[in-house]
């Protein structure tokens, strides 16, 4: 069996998910064939979706936006996860010949064993504690270089997992890879004293033992700031985060005193690409104004609300103002 010749460890000191993903991709792009890297990182409150997931379908974007939770898309597959500082992320990077998922999972299992927790492998790539998931793993391959990364839940706010990963029923016809809900558990439940630092140390020891090699710190002089900045920009752009192939369709409906409306919005790249409002109201020109203003807006409730409020202020007194006000309030009620 092939073995790497050099073992490196790198700890990110930042909590920004876009920067952390950029660094991860940089490490993958610049990996030498005989190197094996373990990269450890933590994100501030972020929902991280899989490469081919539709965020409109997978998470409560509006609640996240209001509460300052970030959305990030990773390069690997699989489902949506919630990160906060109670979670430690690991990434194993190796060229194809040195990449061995069962061995890599063993590093995690052995590290936890030294901390006094017995965990088991379950299914293809999961590790469970008392039958509950505390670690999710995902994989990505580009050319000869492979990446295996995953979460380890130490003390994640589980209430918030449910809060941000719940989806609304108004979202229709959305394509993409679905998440699979799982029962989760924090390591703190069985190891009340555990911290991310303990775990990082145990992982480093288990890593060295697994390969029978001493590890070194990854030489930060290898990191190219301009390339990492460019990658960070890519990871934080709406086109990447919201996804180009994840056009979503939304349909909202309500009856008002002045008539009924059915609003159909299509979004792509995080932008409203078309809006149609069907209405039996006697004021189609007002409805048309609203329809026109929605097209081209970022698909964000705050932006929609601002635009409608402005339209309302500009409207003539009376029926026009009333109808636009009703529609603005109606959008405020929607889950987007």
């Amino acid at each position: 069996m092939n073995r790497p010749k050099k073992l490196y460890i790198y700890h990110s000191k930042y909590y920004n998910p876009y920067q952390n993903l950029a660094t991860e991709t940089f490490l993958l792009e610049n990996l030498e064939p005989d190197e094996f890297i373990m990269y450890l990182w933590q994100n501030e409150r972020t929902v991280v979706i899989g490469k081919n997931q539709n965020p409109y379908k997978e998470c409560a974007l509006e609640t996240m936006e209001k509460e300052g939770v970030l959305l990030a898309r990773r390069p690997s597959g699989g489902g949506a996860v919630f990160h906060d500082l109670g979670n430690l992320n690991f990434t194993f990077l190796a060229s194809e010949k040195n990449f061995n998922i069962p061995n890599q999972l063993e590093i995690i299992i052995n590290a936890l064993k030294t901390l006094g927790v017995g965990v088991q492998k379950s299914g293809r790539n999961d590790i469970v504690l008392n039958g509950r998931k505390f670690s999710g793993n995902a994989f990505y391959k580009s050319g000869q270089n492979c990446l295996h990364h995953g979460t380890i839940m130490l003390n994640v706010n589980i209430e918030q997992v449910a809060r941000y990963l719940q989806v609304s029923a108004t979202k229709l016809a959305a394509k993409g890879v679905d998440s699979v809900p799982a029962r989760v558990i924090n390591l703190r439940e069985v190891l009340p004293q555990i911290t991310a630092d303990h775990l990082k140390l145990a992982l480093a020891q288990a890593l060295e033992k697994q390969f029978g090699l001493q590890s070194q710190w990854y030489n930060t002089a290898r990191l190219s700031r301009p390339r990492i900045d460019a990658l960070e920009k890519m990871y934080s752009e709406s086109g990447w985060v919201h996804g180009k192939n994840f056009a979503a369709m939304f349909e909202f409906q309500k009856r008002f005193e002045w008539g009924e409306i059915i609003v159909c919005l299509n979004s792509d790249h995080g932008i409203i690409t078309s809006s149609q409002i069907f209405s039996d109201s006697l004021h189609p020109q007002i409805i048309e104004k609203v329809e026109n203003i929605l097209s081209g807006l970022p698909f964000s409730k705050i932006q929609i609300s601002d635009a409608l409020r402005q339209l309302q202020n500009e409207a003539g007194e009376g029926t026009e103002k009333e109808i636009i006000k009703d529609i603005a309030l109606f959008f405020d009620e929607q889950k987007i």
Partner: protein, 123 residues
Amino acid sequence: MNLPADLLYTKSHLWVKSLEDGSYELGITDHAQKELSSVVFVNLPEEDDSAELGKVIADIESIKAVSDIISPFSGNIAAINERLADEPGLVNSNPYETWLFKVSDITEKEEFLSPQQYSDFLE
């Protein structure tokens, strides 16, 4: 080994088919689909995107991993296989009939392998 004789192959386990109008169809080989196992999503470029030799142009997500498709051509994406949006599993069930996209206006391409050369490469 299932390797149609009218196709050419790459070391990254793609097949390409030269069409009469000078464009190429491209897909993944039977070997590649077996390695990936069940495909759950095919992330394709858009029509009229430009493809650059050696750069990531698409990716395939299976129950195991996301794997990048590195473009063996520089050219223009002339068409994408729209069926894959709803039936990504066609890549597994019929790898040589299931083209991912077509490339036209080719300015550069990598050196392709004959069925025999690809078969030798696999061993």
